[in-house]
Protein backbone atom coordinates (compact mmCIF):
# COMPACT_ATOMS: atom_id res chain seq x y z
CA UNK A 1 0.00 0.00 0.00
CA UNK A 2 1.31 3.37 -0.93
CA UNK A 3 1.54 5.90 1.80
CA UNK A 4 2.45 9.50 2.12
CA UNK A 5 4.88 10.94 4.58
CA UNK A 6 3.06 13.28 6.86
CA UNK A 7 4.02 14.39 10.30
CA UNK A 8 1.00 14.71 12.51
CA UNK A 9 -0.10 18.22 13.10
CA UNK A 10 -2.87 18.85 15.55
CA UNK A 11 -5.14 21.37 13.95
CA UNK A 12 -8.46 22.69 15.02
CA UNK A 13 -11.35 20.51 14.10
CA UNK A 14 -14.89 21.48 14.82
CA UNK A 15 -17.41 19.25 16.55
CA UNK A 16 -15.03 16.33 16.88
CA UNK A 17 -12.48 15.64 19.54
CA UNK A 18 -10.02 13.20 18.06
CA UNK A 19 -8.14 11.00 20.48
CA UNK A 20 -4.50 11.89 20.86
CA UNK A 21 -2.09 9.99 18.62
CA UNK A 22 -0.82 8.15 21.69
CA UNK A 23 -4.39 7.17 22.62
CA UNK A 24 -4.99 6.00 19.06
CA UNK A 25 -1.80 3.94 19.18
CA UNK A 26 -3.02 2.23 22.34
CA UNK A 27 -6.50 1.88 20.85
CA UNK A 28 -5.28 0.06 17.75
CA UNK A 29 -3.29 -2.33 19.89
CA UNK A 30 -6.29 -2.89 22.17
CA UNK A 31 -8.38 -3.75 19.12
CA UNK A 32 -5.75 -6.25 18.06
CA UNK A 33 -5.89 -7.88 21.48
CA UNK A 34 -9.66 -7.94 21.40
CA UNK A 35 -9.75 -9.64 18.00
CA UNK A 36 -7.26 -12.35 18.79
CA UNK A 37 -8.93 -13.10 22.10
CA UNK A 38 -12.15 -13.97 20.31
CA UNK A 39 -10.72 -16.32 17.70
CA UNK A 40 -8.49 -19.27 17.19
CA UNK A 41 -5.25 -17.86 15.87
CA UNK A 42 -2.23 -18.92 13.87
CA UNK A 43 0.84 -16.71 14.00
CA UNK A 44 3.90 -16.09 11.88
CA UNK A 45 6.92 -14.32 13.24
CA UNK A 46 9.81 -12.48 11.66
CA UNK A 47 12.69 -10.57 13.15
CA UNK A 48 14.68 -7.72 11.75
CA UNK A 49 16.92 -4.75 12.26
CA UNK A 50 16.17 -1.18 11.42
CA UNK A 51 18.35 0.82 9.13
CA UNK A 52 19.13 4.50 9.25
CA UNK A 53 21.24 6.50 11.67
CA UNK A 54 18.64 7.11 14.35
CA UNK A 55 17.16 3.62 14.24
CA UNK A 56 20.38 1.66 14.03
CA UNK A 57 20.71 -1.05 16.69
CA UNK A 58 16.99 -1.11 17.36
CA UNK A 59 15.60 -4.52 16.50
CA UNK A 60 12.08 -5.79 16.15
CA UNK A 61 9.94 -8.88 16.14
CA UNK A 62 6.99 -8.71 13.79
CA UNK A 63 4.10 -11.09 14.39
CA UNK A 64 1.29 -11.67 11.93
CA UNK A 65 -1.93 -13.02 13.39
CA UNK A 66 -4.21 -15.07 11.17
CA UNK A 67 -7.64 -16.40 11.95
CA UNK A 68 -7.31 -20.18 11.62
CA UNK A 69 -10.80 -20.77 10.28
CA UNK A 70 -10.81 -18.20 7.50
CA UNK A 71 -7.11 -17.63 6.94
CA UNK A 72 -7.71 -13.89 7.22
CA UNK A 73 -4.83 -11.73 8.32
CA UNK A 74 -6.26 -10.08 11.43
CA UNK A 75 -3.31 -8.00 12.52
CA UNK A 76 0.39 -7.42 12.39
CA UNK A 77 2.30 -6.17 15.37
CA UNK A 78 5.89 -5.05 15.37
CA UNK A 79 7.44 -5.04 18.81
CA UNK A 80 10.82 -3.98 20.08
CA UNK A 81 12.91 -7.15 20.21
CA UNK A 82 14.43 -6.31 23.58
CA UNK A 83 11.41 -4.62 25.14
CA UNK A 84 8.36 -6.36 23.67
CA UNK A 85 5.99 -4.16 25.63
CA UNK A 86 7.03 -1.35 23.29
CA UNK A 87 4.87 -1.50 20.20
CA UNK A 88 6.47 0.08 17.15
CA UNK A 89 3.71 -0.67 14.65
CA UNK A 90 0.23 -2.15 14.87
CA UNK A 91 -2.03 -2.87 11.93
CA UNK A 92 -5.51 -4.30 12.42
CA UNK A 93 -7.90 -5.53 9.75
CA UNK A 94 -11.66 -5.69 10.32
CA UNK A 95 -13.78 -8.05 8.22
CA UNK A 96 -17.55 -8.18 7.86
CA UNK A 97 -19.61 -11.35 8.27
CA UNK A 98 -19.07 -12.19 4.62
CA UNK A 99 -15.31 -12.04 5.07
CA UNK A 100 -14.77 -8.76 3.26
CA UNK A 101 -12.20 -6.34 4.60
CA UNK A 102 -14.24 -3.28 5.57
CA UNK A 103 -11.72 -1.16 7.39
CA UNK A 104 -8.20 -1.30 8.69
CA UNK A 105 -6.21 0.70 11.18
CA UNK A 106 -2.57 1.41 11.62
CA UNK A 107 -0.30 3.25 13.96
CA UNK A 108 3.42 3.67 13.46
CA UNK A 109 5.94 4.96 15.96
CA UNK A 110 9.65 5.45 15.58
CA UNK A 111 11.65 2.88 17.55
CA UNK A 112 13.66 5.51 19.40
CA UNK A 113 10.52 7.31 20.54
CA UNK A 114 7.95 4.53 20.72
CA UNK A 115 5.13 6.20 22.61
CA UNK A 116 4.11 8.81 20.07
CA UNK A 117 3.00 7.62 16.65
CA UNK A 118 4.25 9.58 13.66
CA UNK A 119 1.73 7.96 11.36
CA UNK A 120 -1.85 7.03 12.04
CA UNK A 121 -4.37 5.80 9.55
CA UNK A 122 -7.96 4.72 9.24
CA UNK A 123 -8.69 3.00 5.94
CA UNK A 124 -12.32 2.65 4.90
CA UNK A 125 -12.98 0.01 2.25
CA UNK A 126 -15.78 -0.11 -0.30
CA UNK A 127 -16.97 -2.67 -2.80
CA UNK A 128 -18.96 -1.98 -5.96
CA UNK A 129 -19.43 -5.01 -8.15
CA UNK A 130 -15.97 -6.09 -9.19
CA UNK A 131 -14.33 -2.99 -7.76
CA UNK A 132 -12.60 -2.80 -4.40
CA UNK A 133 -11.52 0.59 -3.16
CA UNK A 134 -10.29 2.16 0.00
CA UNK A 135 -9.59 5.66 1.22
CA UNK A 136 -6.95 6.41 3.82
CA UNK A 137 -7.60 9.02 6.51
CA UNK A 138 -5.27 10.15 9.21
CA UNK A 139 -6.38 10.91 12.72
CA UNK A 140 -7.57 14.40 11.82
CA UNK A 141 -9.46 13.15 8.81
CA UNK A 142 -7.09 14.27 6.12
CA UNK A 143 -7.20 11.97 3.13
CA UNK A 144 -3.72 10.72 2.40
CA UNK A 145 -4.35 8.10 -0.21
CA UNK A 146 -7.01 6.50 -2.39
CA UNK A 147 -6.84 3.17 -4.11
CA UNK A 148 -9.21 1.22 -6.33
CA UNK A 149 -8.77 -1.91 -8.37
CA UNK A 150 -10.99 -4.25 -10.33
CA UNK A 151 -13.16 -3.96 -13.41
CA UNK A 152 -16.03 -1.72 -14.38
CA UNK A 153 -18.12 -1.81 -17.54
CA UNK A 154 -15.81 -4.48 -18.90
CA UNK A 155 -12.65 -2.42 -18.45
CA UNK A 156 -9.85 -2.85 -15.99
CA UNK A 157 -9.61 -0.15 -13.32
CA UNK A 158 -6.60 0.68 -11.18
CA UNK A 159 -6.52 4.00 -9.37
CA UNK A 160 -3.76 4.99 -6.96
CA UNK A 161 -3.77 8.60 -5.78
CA UNK A 162 -1.73 10.30 -3.12
CA UNK A 163 -3.61 12.94 -1.18
CA UNK A 164 -1.89 15.73 -3.08
CA UNK A 165 -2.93 14.19 -6.38
CA UNK A 166 -6.63 14.05 -5.61
CA UNK A 167 -8.11 16.88 -7.63
CA UNK A 168 -10.81 17.64 -10.16
CA UNK A 169 -8.84 16.16 -13.02
CA UNK A 170 -7.78 12.95 -11.29
CA UNK A 171 -11.26 12.28 -9.91
CA UNK A 172 -12.85 12.76 -13.32
CA UNK A 173 -11.06 9.73 -14.72
CA UNK A 174 -12.74 6.51 -15.80
CA UNK A 175 -14.05 4.47 -12.91
CA UNK A 176 -13.40 6.98 -10.16
CA UNK A 177 -17.04 7.61 -9.38
CA UNK A 178 -17.82 3.90 -9.45
CA UNK A 179 -14.96 3.31 -7.06
CA UNK A 180 -15.60 6.04 -4.54
CA UNK A 181 -19.08 7.53 -4.81
CA UNK A 182 -20.66 4.96 -2.54
CA UNK A 183 -17.87 4.97 0.02
CA UNK A 184 -18.67 6.12 3.53
CA UNK A 185 -17.09 9.43 4.48
CA UNK A 186 -17.69 8.85 8.15
CA UNK A 187 -14.13 8.11 9.18
CA UNK A 188 -14.55 9.98 12.48
CA UNK A 189 -16.62 7.21 14.06
CA UNK A 190 -13.52 5.03 13.85
CA UNK A 191 -11.09 7.48 15.42
CA UNK A 192 -11.53 5.30 18.45
CA UNK A 193 -10.68 2.03 16.73
CA UNK A 194 -13.37 -0.65 16.72
Amino acid sequence: MKTRVALLCITSFSAFAAPSPADFHRGVYALHEQQIAQREIRTEEATGNYEGAAAARYRYVETSYYEKASGHLLSRVRRDAALPELIHITEVNIYDDAGKLVRDFGSVTLPWAPLQPVRTFINLHHYNGALHSFRQHDLIGQVGYEFCEGSFEGKRVRISLDGDDINAASTAGFGYKACFDGMSKDWAQYATPH
Partner: protein
Protein backbone atom coordinates in the same frame (compact mmCIF):
# COMPACT_ATOMS: atom_id res chain seq x y z
CA UNK B 1 2.09 -2.32 4.16
CA UNK B 2 4.51 -2.10 7.07
CA UNK B 3 7.42 -1.67 4.68
CA UNK B 4 5.89 1.51 3.35
CA UNK B 5 5.50 2.98 6.78
CA UNK B 6 9.13 2.28 7.43
CA UNK B 7 10.02 4.05 4.23
CA UNK B 8 8.13 7.00 5.61
CA UNK B 9 9.91 6.59 8.90
CA UNK B 10 13.30 6.42 7.25
CA UNK B 11 12.61 9.70 5.49
CA UNK B 12 11.84 11.24 8.83
CA UNK B 13 15.08 9.76 10.14
CA UNK B 14 16.92 11.67 7.48
CA UNK B 15 15.56 14.88 8.90
CA UNK B 16 16.65 14.02 12.41
CA UNK B 17 19.99 12.46 12.01
CA UNK B 18 22.35 15.32 12.46
CA UNK B 19 21.97 18.97 13.00
CA UNK B 20 24.62 21.48 13.74
CA UNK B 21 24.25 24.48 15.93
CA UNK B 22 26.73 26.96 17.23
CA UNK B 23 24.97 28.53 20.16
CA UNK B 24 26.69 28.04 23.49
CA UNK B 25 24.64 26.04 25.97
CA UNK B 26 23.30 27.74 29.04
CA UNK B 27 24.42 26.49 32.38
CA UNK B 28 22.23 23.72 33.70
CA UNK B 29 22.20 22.03 37.08
CA UNK B 30 21.57 18.31 37.44
CA UNK B 31 22.07 15.71 40.14
CA UNK B 32 24.29 12.70 39.83
CA UNK B 33 23.34 9.25 41.07
CA UNK B 34 24.69 10.05 44.54
CA UNK B 35 22.37 13.04 44.73
CA UNK B 36 25.15 15.58 44.37
CA UNK B 37 24.38 18.66 42.28
CA UNK B 38 26.56 19.52 39.29
CA UNK B 39 26.66 22.48 36.94
CA UNK B 40 27.26 21.88 33.25
CA UNK B 41 30.03 24.43 33.42
CA UNK B 42 32.02 21.82 35.31
CA UNK B 43 32.09 19.71 32.18
CA UNK B 44 31.80 21.86 29.08
CA UNK B 45 33.73 24.81 27.75
CA UNK B 46 36.82 23.97 29.72
CA UNK B 47 39.25 23.67 26.83
CA UNK B 48 38.38 20.11 25.88
CA UNK B 49 35.66 18.54 23.77
CA UNK B 50 32.67 17.16 25.65
CA UNK B 51 30.70 14.26 24.22
CA UNK B 52 27.36 14.36 25.97
CA UNK B 53 25.22 11.30 25.51
CA UNK B 54 21.56 11.25 26.47
CA UNK B 55 20.51 7.70 27.09
CA UNK B 56 18.01 5.52 28.90
CA UNK B 57 18.94 2.42 30.87
CA UNK B 58 16.27 0.37 29.09
CA UNK B 59 17.02 1.61 25.56
CA UNK B 60 18.64 -1.27 23.65
CA UNK B 61 20.98 0.76 21.40
CA UNK B 62 22.05 2.84 24.40
CA UNK B 63 23.21 -0.31 26.11
CA UNK B 64 25.14 -1.37 23.03
CA UNK B 65 26.95 1.91 22.54
CA UNK B 66 28.15 2.22 26.13
CA UNK B 67 31.41 0.29 25.59
CA UNK B 68 32.18 2.57 22.65
CA UNK B 69 31.67 5.66 24.74
CA UNK B 70 33.54 4.26 27.69
CA UNK B 71 36.48 3.37 25.45
CA UNK B 72 36.53 6.85 23.97
CA UNK B 73 36.38 8.42 27.42
CA UNK B 74 39.16 6.22 28.75
CA UNK B 75 41.44 7.15 25.87
CA UNK B 76 40.87 10.90 25.99
CA UNK B 77 39.73 11.90 29.47
CA UNK B 78 43.12 13.33 30.34
CA UNK B 79 43.48 15.06 27.02
CA UNK B 80 41.25 16.43 24.33
CA UNK B 81 37.80 15.06 25.20
CA UNK B 82 35.52 13.64 27.86
CA UNK B 83 32.21 11.89 27.88
CA UNK B 84 29.29 13.03 30.00
CA UNK B 85 26.15 10.95 30.33
CA UNK B 86 22.70 12.34 30.99
CA UNK B 87 20.18 9.62 31.71
CA UNK B 88 16.47 9.94 31.01
CA UNK B 89 13.70 7.44 31.44
CA UNK B 90 12.99 5.30 28.39
CA UNK B 91 10.56 5.30 26.69
CA UNK B 92 8.80 8.19 28.44
CA UNK B 93 11.81 10.57 28.39
CA UNK B 94 10.70 11.65 31.85
CA UNK B 95 13.03 12.01 34.82
CA UNK B 96 15.61 9.26 35.05
CA UNK B 97 15.17 6.87 37.97
CA UNK B 98 18.20 7.06 40.19
CA UNK B 99 18.26 3.41 41.28
CA UNK B 100 17.87 2.16 37.74
CA UNK B 101 20.66 4.40 36.46
CA UNK B 102 22.93 3.51 39.36
CA UNK B 103 22.47 -0.21 38.74
CA UNK B 104 23.09 0.22 35.03
CA UNK B 105 26.24 2.26 35.66
CA UNK B 106 27.51 -0.40 38.00
CA UNK B 107 26.62 -3.32 35.74
CA UNK B 108 28.25 -1.74 32.70
CA UNK B 109 31.23 -0.28 34.57
CA UNK B 110 30.48 3.25 33.46
CA UNK B 111 33.43 5.41 34.39
CA UNK B 112 32.36 8.76 33.00
CA UNK B 113 30.10 11.12 34.95
CA UNK B 114 26.39 10.37 34.71
CA UNK B 115 23.72 12.91 35.60
CA UNK B 116 19.97 12.43 35.93
CA UNK B 117 17.79 14.41 33.54
CA UNK B 118 14.67 14.42 31.42
CA UNK B 119 13.50 15.60 28.01
CA UNK B 120 12.38 18.97 29.30
CA UNK B 121 15.75 19.90 30.65
CA UNK B 122 17.42 18.60 27.50
CA UNK B 123 16.01 21.56 25.59
CA UNK B 124 18.12 23.85 27.82
CA UNK B 125 21.45 22.24 27.07
CA UNK B 126 20.74 20.36 23.85
CA UNK B 127 19.57 23.30 21.79
CA UNK B 128 16.47 21.46 20.56
CA UNK B 129 13.77 19.06 21.67
CA UNK B 130 14.86 15.54 22.48
CA UNK B 131 13.78 13.45 19.50
CA UNK B 132 14.81 10.09 20.83
CA UNK B 133 17.54 8.16 22.54
CA UNK B 134 20.38 7.77 22.30
CA UNK B 135 21.17 11.35 21.36
CA UNK B 136 24.70 12.67 21.30
CA UNK B 137 25.60 16.34 21.60
CA UNK B 138 29.22 17.26 21.07
CA UNK B 139 30.41 20.53 22.57
CA UNK B 140 33.59 22.09 21.25
CA UNK B 141 36.47 23.27 23.38
CA UNK B 142 34.70 26.57 24.06
CA UNK B 143 31.44 24.90 25.03
CA UNK B 144 29.47 25.59 21.86
CA UNK B 145 27.37 22.81 20.36
CA UNK B 146 29.22 21.44 17.36
CA UNK B 147 26.80 18.68 16.47
CA UNK B 148 23.67 16.97 17.70
CA UNK B 149 22.89 13.45 16.54
CA UNK B 150 19.92 11.20 17.21
CA UNK B 151 20.92 7.55 17.08
CA UNK B 152 23.83 5.39 18.06
CA UNK B 153 27.38 6.54 17.64
CA UNK B 154 30.62 4.64 17.54
CA UNK B 155 33.96 5.55 18.98
CA UNK B 156 35.30 5.89 15.46
CA UNK B 157 32.56 8.34 14.47
CA UNK B 158 33.40 10.58 17.42
CA UNK B 159 37.15 10.35 16.82
CA UNK B 160 36.77 11.32 13.17
CA UNK B 161 34.36 14.14 13.91
CA UNK B 162 36.59 15.76 16.50
CA UNK B 163 39.74 15.24 14.43
CA UNK B 164 38.07 16.94 11.49
CA UNK B 165 36.94 19.90 13.53
CA UNK B 166 40.25 20.24 15.32
CA UNK B 167 41.94 20.09 11.93
CA UNK B 168 39.69 22.77 10.53
CA UNK B 169 40.35 24.97 13.53
CA UNK B 170 44.13 24.72 13.09
CA UNK B 171 45.51 27.75 11.22
Amino acid sequence: MIRNYLLAASLIVGCLVTSVASAASPDVTLNDIQGKTHHFSEYIGRGHWTVLVVWGPRCPPCIEEMPELQGFHDDHKDGKARVLGVAVDFPTFGQAKRDEVAKFSEDYLIGFPVLLGNAEIFTRFGGAELQGVPTTVIYDRKGAIAVRHTGSVTRDMIERFIAKWDGEATP
